[in-house]
């Protein structure tokens, strides 16, 4: 069947078997292999992309269900954010490297797309399972419990979660994650609670 998708700002006309998932359309038909096929059952989050601005599992959606919709993958995420209110979130890509938020890197595109979607949700005031005050009257603060809960749909089998959380904290410039690496119930950890900020804010590494 014929569908068209707006992928990373470009209109793509496709003629697909209805069985083709959004993930397979991106990877096999458009050559965008950034979104990964991990479990293919919505459990690992490696396939996470942004559709109409929201994070979803591309493996559990048929491409046909998204005819006419806007899809942003890891390949286009920096351009898609540029010039928007969420431009600051693009810093997560650099921050993932600087904070060792990955080892093998397989989950990373999904982590980044998910984190951007998650930060948008938090900026919109969406509560989570661990938010004490549902009414939205108290200020939402993304501490470690909040970030871990909101990112639980993305697994990292290398166990780079501390680095991923540090990168998310840096990517959020609005102060939602202020002090966010400190657990509610534990004293500050001087090693873990200090994110390694990139030294020159946008260059190509730590050149002393």
């Amino acid at each position: 069947m014929k569908i068209s998708l707006d992928v990373n700002g470009t209109r793509q006309d496709l003629d697909l078997d209805p069985r083709v998932t959004l993930l397979d359309a991106l990877r096999e038909h458009l050559g965008l292999t950034g979104a990964k096929k991990g479990c293919d059952h919505g459990q690992c989050g490696a396939c996470t992309v942004l559709v109409e601005g929201r994070r979803i599992n591309a493996c559990l959606s048929l491409a046909a269900m998204h005819d006419g919709e806007e899809v942003v993958t890891i390949e286009g995420v920096a351009d898609a954010l540029a010039g928007t209110n969420d431009a600051r979130f693009a810093a997560i890509q650099r921050a993932m490297i600087d904070n060792e938020g990955l080892q093998c890197g397989y989950c990373t595109p999904g982590q980044i797309c998910s984190a951007i979607g998650m930060l948008r949700e938090a900026a919109a005031g969406w509560p989570s399972h661990v938010t004490d005050d549902l009414t939205g009257e108290g200020r939402l603060r993304l501490d470690r419990e909040e970030m871990s809960e909101r990112m639980s749909g993305n697994l990292c089998r290398c166990g780079c979660y501390p680095g991923i959380l540090a990168a998310i904290r840096i990517a959020d410039g609005s102060g939602l994650t202020d002090g966010g690496l400190r657990s509610r119930n534990s004293p500050p950890d001087p090693l873990r609670d200090r994110p390694r900020l990139h030294s020159d804010g946008g260059g190509d590494g730590d050149k002393a």
Partner: protein, 324 residues
Amino acid sequence: MRPFDFTRPADRDDACLKGRAEGAAFVAGGTNLIDLMKLEVMTPAHLVDLNRLGLDRIEEEGEGLSIGATVRNADLAADPRVRHRWPVLSRALLSGASGQLRNRATTAGNLLQRTRCPYFQDRDTPCNKRTPGSGCSALGGETRNHAILGTSEHCIALHPSDMAVAMRALDTEIEVQDPDGRMRSMGLDHFYRLPRDTPHIETRLDPGDLITGVRLPAPQGDRQIYRKVRDRASYAFALVSVAAVVRMEGGKIAHAALAFGGIGSQPWRDIEVDAVLTGETPSEALFDKAGEILTQGAEVQDGTAFKVPLVRRVLADVLRKAVT
């Protein structure tokens, strides 16, 4: 995945007609259906896409709330009206699945999601729900995420929803359009069928029946709690969950609606549990009695026996908090 054709109906009437065809299935979020199609546990020949029928609105209706069938779980959980007046529903939704899944999964899809019994998902083992008459592999097999109430000798599958548990405590009505254009509504108690000797028939929907939405009546209690116990802190199905909607008057329990997840073949509610609490002064003895009534007909397996004491303790703790 088996081949199928994909259609987008023009409107609700068209959806009902297309949905009535042999082998047709509705799809909205797809988070459960597409997963089961990959496993070839579900093999629809026609997929009818409900995503653009305007069933994605949440509207106030008198003192209640009308929620469209394709409202995403994430939007429902974040809706300010739900958060203020029906917080047990927000809490239940937020305790389920992951952020990505909640952004796709829908109200009606959540109600209609299939059991996560591993034998139902494994085509190499007998399962009366998947292949009627083939037997039940869970009886005498590995059990944990299985039901202890409302089961039968043919099936001990668990209804895995959190959302539906809160909706059951809130006396939610499900609104259905049939292929002749007639509307009817029913409570969750009537909507779900017990497995008996036909565990493959889970609801009272007929071919072509379309859930258009659900209606939440005005909340009957201001003290609302959803407590979920699971094997890991996030993104896991309930071993036991309790939804409580309670109203206190003059130190007595004026309204009690308790519903349970993780234990029933459907989102579970026992009117005798509510009745024993209503009109009474809260006490530990009363809470224990409610738990005894709830579990008196429980049928346990080796892997599910722990749920009897667990659900009693969780119920008592939820009630303790709800009445203070």
